[in-house]
Symmetry: C2
Subunit: 433 residues, 2 copies
């Protein structure tokens, strides 16, 4: 080729960074042919540069602990950020762009918290900021959303975007295990971290929901805007109840346009979806994103949402794209937030509830329960009643029609106050119908 | 905005063209915001400009029967070609590019037959040629393949890319109907054309397979290179036999790299795939493309493969992309054929066969049958034998291990010559395991 190489600085060399460095080395010829110029590692910023890395076929002299010095080097054209977290990642990415480098990041937390600052910097310095790997790992979802659907109107996005929780929920569904037991299994197999908070409490999924909602609706959405409930309260009984309805419990990231098109909502919570829904068959640690757009109709994107190699695949796809812009001119699409729609609070979101009640098995109870729903303007879709084994109690399972979350919440509060209701044993939203 | 509009010439105003024109009009504000400049229809080339089109909210003066004159107009920046077929589409697209316009085409036949000429012209004139709508309608598959997976190594693509045949095969599976009956139902419901040849004989899928293989393997592949078998010979017995194995029959477009990475194959034929495979649950007229890449692992893209609005969604996504290049500079990726791998003939393709035989129910028959497989070096995975209701015959179902298609074909010929074999009742390839 004879063209001078484009120089790549890699920030972070954990599971993903190692794969990025490995692929940059082993696939160098293919990457050069696809970009039009070779890609060459300029340096790798890590905490401990001297640590032996026998599996990684790169020059040990490339490692440095001076990340700031690396991104500010004049010979760096492209920066890959796979450190994660807010700082120092943000400062490094901003310094890289200020120095004229295009950036590829896998950092969902940073993009979801402070994307606007980063996009503004990219715009100001005339560089690219790509981040396909930040959502759903290897699955191409941000580029399709940002480019393929750029001529369409997205109405709704339903995503299974966290592999750990999907693994846990799959095991609960398959074996009848409780949350704790399924989580332990996931930890033993490496599907959950020792501190699983970010995953099981829905923080990871909420960051991804914010990114997806921003792209889908051309509106700034941050992680703070996303209503978030994790899966720690999902019980074996909830899962069994879903099964009895022909449904399955999934942790969903839901981004949706209101019916009048004037506001958007973004939320993460467990929900029951029918087994016939394409997302229901997404099992174990796999991810999938279901998109409903006005002209395109229903689309689904499925694949591996995490792991070194899959995430590196997404990083390298972006790297080739931004490198091509260096070679051929132009830039990819920047932030698109022109629609600037209102992000509505959860209480105004319209959804359906599945409520299980432990009630006294006597005449008039159903009437009293139905009265509470009616008082809050919530209409009932189905009621299923069955005696419980232990004497005078019965189980009442109510699935509502669509109503605002505030009305549904108030209804549940009202039910808790009824004399005839021993307890509200399960409350879960119903989606995907 | 105040910027002058980009002028769009639309060639063809059938089902897809009508939707493109409608969306350009009704979504004009959104499109302008996303592109950075308004998009404006410069003209619509049709056969009968005077025909009333009450559903289409555009100025009747835009219609013309002079397509050549339209694409050569100096005020045309972008050309959308949704005429289909080879000529006059090719000449018009070439004239448009020669005049400096970027082109968005939905024309799978043209791309698969003569893509190289078109890409060369785009390169020569420094314009974009985008064609997402040519494969799998609304499903973003070409952009992910061409851009998202640009840093990865695709090993295999398995696609259900023809909605008509998938509808027919779904009905055969659901109802036990034969091919003819299921096709008639599809025709009655508008899922199949009066002359269904292009669909049921696999020509449509073969064009798409050529396009997918070219992108996946960075190698020129034309429709002529694709081994093609349609579904007209698929019988109710084949479908029942698949069902008995826990499988389902699908018309697959298969593009694969050989194990040594030195050659590629592209083929379209019916095949049995296990019901547990993600493609098995793609029903009715839906399409899906399953991709196996080295780093990304398994990906699947699912959605509507045809229809006016879904196809228009893909066209408009491309239109926004090429329009952004007009506004911001740069071009999208051109043809990538640097790998220039050998396209191997079908006989060298490695696959598995499912063979059903009607045999005499007597000692020694299985040995004779097994001997024929052994002579051709084909190893048997499973054999299932059951007496047929009508006396002295038995059905023998053999599923092979992987072998070259040539060896498998020769084996089937050998079986036909055996005295003990009354008939070979079904031969079908087995994929997706």
């Amino acid at each position: 080729m004879g063209e001078p190489a484009l120089r790549v600085a890699l920030l972070g060399c954990g599971v993903v960074g190692t794969e990025v460095a490995r692929l940059l080395t082993t696939q160098a010829d293919d990457l050069a042919a696809r970009v039009g110029r070779p890609l060459e590692l300029a340096g790798i910023a890590v905490r401990r540069p001297g640590r032996p890395r026998p599996d990684l076929p790169v020059d040990p002299a490339l490692f440095t602990d001076d990340a700031t010095g690396l991104v500010e080097r004049e010979d760096v054209d492209l920066v890959v950020e796979v450190i994660g977290g807010i700082e120092p990642a943000r400062s490094l990415v901003l310094a890289a762009m200020a120095g004229g480098a295009s950036v590829v990041s896998a950092n969902k937390a940073l993009l979801a918290e402070d994307g606007a600052t980063l996009f503004a910097a990219a715009e100001k310095h005339g560089v690219d900021l790509y981040y396909e790997a930040a959502v759903a790992g290897a699955i191409p979802i941000l580029r399709p959303m940002r480019e393929s659907l750029a001529g369409d109107r997205v109405r709704r996005v339903l995503g299974i975007v966290n592999g750990t929780t999907n693994y846990v929920l799959t095991k609960m569904d398959e074996t009848g295990a409780g949350f704790g037991e399924a989580l332990e299994e996931a930890q033993a197999l490496g599907y959950a971290e020792a501190d699983p908070t970010a995953d099981v409490e829905g923080f990871d999924a909420a960051a991804k929901a914010a990114i997806l909602a921003g792209l889908a609706f051309h509106t700034r959405v941050t992680a703070m805007d996303v209503h978030r409930e994790g899966i720690t309260e999902v019980s074996a009984a909830d899962v069994a109840s879903a099964r009895a309805m022909g449904s399955v419990v999934k942790l969903l990231a839901i981004c949706e346009l209101s019916e009048d098109g004037q506001s958007v909502g973004a939320r993460v919570h467990p929900a029951m979806i029918p087994r016939s829904h394409p997302l229901a068959s997404v099992r174990d640690a796999f991810n999938a994103v279901f998109v409903d757009a006005e002209a395109a109709g229903e689309l689904m994107f499925y694949g591996r949402g995490a792991g070194g190699a899959p995430t590196a695949s997404a990083v390298l796809g972006d790297l080739v794209a931004v490198a091509r812009h260096r070679v051929g001119g132009g830039r990819g699409p920047g932030e698109s937030s022109y629609a600037d729609l209102l992000v509505r609070p959860m209480g105004e979101t319209v959804t359906r509830y599945h409520v299980s009640l432990d009630v006294a098995d006597r005449a008039g109870v159903l009437a009293a329960v139905a009265q509470v729903f009616a008082e809050h303007g919530v209409s009932i879709d189905t009621v299923r009643q069955r005696p419980l084994g232990d004497g005078d109690d019965a189980e009442l399972v109510v699935v509502t029609h669509r109503a605002t979350d505030a009305a549904l919440q108030a209804t549940v509060e009202g039910l808790r106050g009824l004399d005839a209701v021993q307890g509200v044993t399960s409350v879960m939203r119903v989606e995907g119908e």
